[in-house]
């Protein structure tokens, strides 16, 4: 009787990806709650930064890992999300949830637009086009026709809503922001991991492996690529909205090529194609600049040196990971996991490579 009762949930767990992903999501929320309540204000701010970086990285991971398209310009979609949030919040005073949804929609719409072009571009061509987007788009904020709306080179100040009074008068703002970002991250990972195991996700993998074979087996290649680009950019837009709220700012200087680069670094270091890898990668690229700045300050290094340490490290890490260790952290974790449970190796391998 008891054996039966415990076997049923286990079977459900094994058979239903939805149940599995839901369980992980609830677990993630619980962990986030306890982590955020035990951290001080500054660490909560970092937690929020990790969460929005992970959201953008997860979007990029789906684009590059699943459908095999590359973007050197995802920072541009983050910028679009940030500006959308700033405009909706400052000029129109929409409620926060709607504002973030707006950033998702606008980011996704621009992504689909770029995706139409991207569906015709391959490899280095697409990389070059998205690079142009990353370099060119932030300058739009200073274009004379848009300067009033977007605040020119100084950008827009974003005054984010204080935590609701029901949480108590002295509830720290940073923890509230970490909660918002954490909730968005869990929702993002839930949606994207379900997407990866859905029919669309399978189509994306087919398109990545062999476009002609995919087309022959009835996959609409161009449409799949456009939709993937749109989805990926939508989450970058969400990350941008959260960026604007956490940093109280949307300004061209925040969305440099270095931002796009840090997202690509996070995706590559974590392991292209793995959502868990996107989270590891986001943790690393968020904390790395802080650590190096701390170290440099203690060693009394001049500002020009330590301000550039993250850039140098991103570059080095990208090169070394691709040349020496193409699977990134996640492939290391997976190898470790395989070593730790040799007993289950007899079980037929499920196709869980990409989730």
């Amino acid at each position: 009787m008891t054996a039966l009762a415990s076997a049923a949930p286990l079977r459900l767990w094994r058979q239903s990806t939805l149940v599995r992903h839901l369980t992980w999501s609830v677990l993630g929320l619980v962990v986030l709650y306890f982590v955020s309540t035990s951290l001080d204000a500054f660490a909560n701010l970092q937690l929020a930064q990790i969460c929005y970086t992970a959201i953008a990285t997860a979007g990029l991971t789906v684009l590059s890992g699943l459908s095999g398209q590359i973007s050197l310009g995802h920072g541009a979609f983050v910028a679009v999300g940030a500006y959308t949030t700033a405009v909706l919040l400052e000029h129109l005073q929409w409620p926060l949830a709607l504002v973030l949804l707006g950033s998702v929609v606008v980011g996704g719409a621009l992504g689909c637009l770029v995706g139409v072009a991207a569906a015709r571009l391959r490899g280095p061509y697409l990389a070059g086009a998205t690079l142009a987007l990353a370099v060119g788009l932030p300058s739009l904020a200073d274009y004379h026709g848009l300067r009033d709306l977007l605040g020119g080179a100084n950008g827009l100040i974003v005054t984010s809503e204080p935590p609701p009074l029901s949480l108590g008068e002295s509830f720290p703002l940073e923890r509230w922001q970490a909660w918002i970002c954490g909730l968005c991250l869990v929702i993002t990972l839930f949606l994207l991991s379900n997407l990866a195991s859905s029919r669309l996700g399978r189509d994306m993998r087919l398109v990545r492996e062999d476009e002609q074979a995919a087309a022959l087996s009835g996959v609409h290649v161009a449409r799949t690529q456009i939709v993937t680009f749109g989805i990926s950019a939508a989450f970058a837009g969400l990350a941008g909205g959260l960026f604007a709220i956490v940093n109280s700012l949307a300004a061209p200087g925040a969305f440099t090529l270095a931002l796009s680069l840090s997202l690509l670094t996070a995706a590559v270091v974590g392991g292209l194609g793995s959502l868990a890898g996107a989270v590891y990668g986001a943790v690393i690229v968020t904390l790395l600049p802080n650590w190096t700045a701390d170290l440099a300050q203690r060693a009394n290094l001049p500002r020009a040196i330590y301000a550039n340490i993250p850039l140098v490290l991103y570059g080095l890490v990208l090169i070394v990971v691709i040349v020496v260790f193409p699977g990134g952290i996640q492939s290391g974790v997976r190898k470790l996991g395989a070593l730790l449970r040799p007993a289950r190796s007899g079980r037929p391998q499920e196709n869980r490579q990409e989730t």
Binding site: S64, G68, I70, L72, A117, R120, L121, R122, G123, P124, Y125, A127, G128, A129, L131, A132, L133, V135, G136, L137, S139, L140, D142, Y143, H144, E211, Q212, T256, L257, A258, L261, L264, T265, V268, L272, A304, I305, A307, N308, I309, P310, L311, V312, L313, Y314, G315, L316, V317, L318, I319, I322, V323, P326
Partner: protein, 292 residues
């Protein structure tokens, strides 16, 4: 009308530099099928080396020569150390590695020289020529820029068409396996190709430095324009790179003059996508190069 002439002339000058950058990208693409996203970073470093010489009292000409030589060395080292391991892997890998090199170089330059833009002296005067009683937006230094780029192109064409070294380079680019069987040292040719490309980039950097200033990120846009020019011309074709560079320079000059200089980079993106939509292989490219 006078404004139109001015914008056209200014566009020709900047277009000549984009053509040089595009030519460097084409040289690398032809031999290794890699778009070198580090090109902007590499020419930034060689321009900083030239700047250091000038700021220590060296002449313009010494700085130019040293920039070209350091470009040769840098290109060879980059190919041997970083590019060789990913040359035959997926295009994604090469993109990420060269992009990584770009920021590695930008970070290193920021550490050594700081982020403040430095001004770079022009070779000749920048007061426009007089024609028909008015001053043109075309100065002796602009004439110098155009002439140098033309000379570099003519020189490359001569080397590729008339020397046995050029023949081996072309053989390597078109059929590396056959070339290897016929005794061409393919690996060495690839290294030389990257070195040559980096040297051409170094010339472009020194030529454009007086108008953009020198800083770690000053050449991001130049890289985008060079890439756009190369794609417009067809990544495979050196003459295409020249035509693409000049055409892009003129178009962007009109955009800057009539619409505003802030959206020039975006305009180049629009041009890029428009050309690729109509002719995915570029104006001078062969269709075979882009088959999937």
């Amino acid at each position: 009308m006078g404004r139109f002439v001015d914008l056209t002339l200014a566009g020709l000058t900047s277009g000549a530099v984009y053509a040089a950058v595009a030519l460097a990208l084409v040289l690398i693409w032809r031999s290794t099928r890699i778009v070198n996203f580090a090109q902007g970073g590499m020419l930034m470093i060689t321009t900083f080396i030239a700047y250091t010489i000038i700021s220590h009292g060296g002449s313009y000409w010494l700085a130019l020569i040293v920039a070209v030589l350091s470009g040769l060395v840098l290109g060879a080292v980059v190919e041997r150390v970083l590019v060789r391991p990913v040359e035959n892997r997926s295009p994604l890998d090469a993109v990420v590695v060269t992009f990584g090199l770009l920021v590695l170089l930008q970070g290193a330059a920021g550490m050594l020289f700081g982020g403040t833009p430095r001004s770079y002296p022009p070779a000749f005067g920048i007061a426009g020529f007089q024609a028909g009683g008015r001053q043109l937006l075309f100065a002796p230094n602009d004439l110098w820029v155009v002439l140098v780029v033309l000379a570099v192109m003519a020189g490359l064409a001569l080397v590729f068409r008339k020397t046995s070294f050029g023949l081996r380079m072309r053989a390597t680019a078109f059929a590396p396996e056959v070339a290897r069987l016929l005794g061409v040292r393919v690996g060495r040719m690839l290294t030389l190709g990257w070195a040559l490309a980096a040297a051409v980039g170094a010339v472009a950097g020194v030529l454009i430095a007086p108008s953009t200033f020198v800083s770690p990120t000053a050449f991001d846009a130049v890289l985008v324009f060079g890439f756009t020019a190369a794609v417009i011309g067809g990544l495979d074709s050196p003459p295409g790179a020249v035509v693409g560079g000049l055409a892009l320079g003129i178009v962007l000059s009109y955009v800057a003059g009539y619409l505003g200089s802030d959206i020039v980079t975006l305009a180049s993106l629009v041009v890029l996508i428009a050309v690729l939509m109509v002719r995915p292989q570029g104006l001078f490219g062969t269709a075979k190069g882009r088959q999937v």
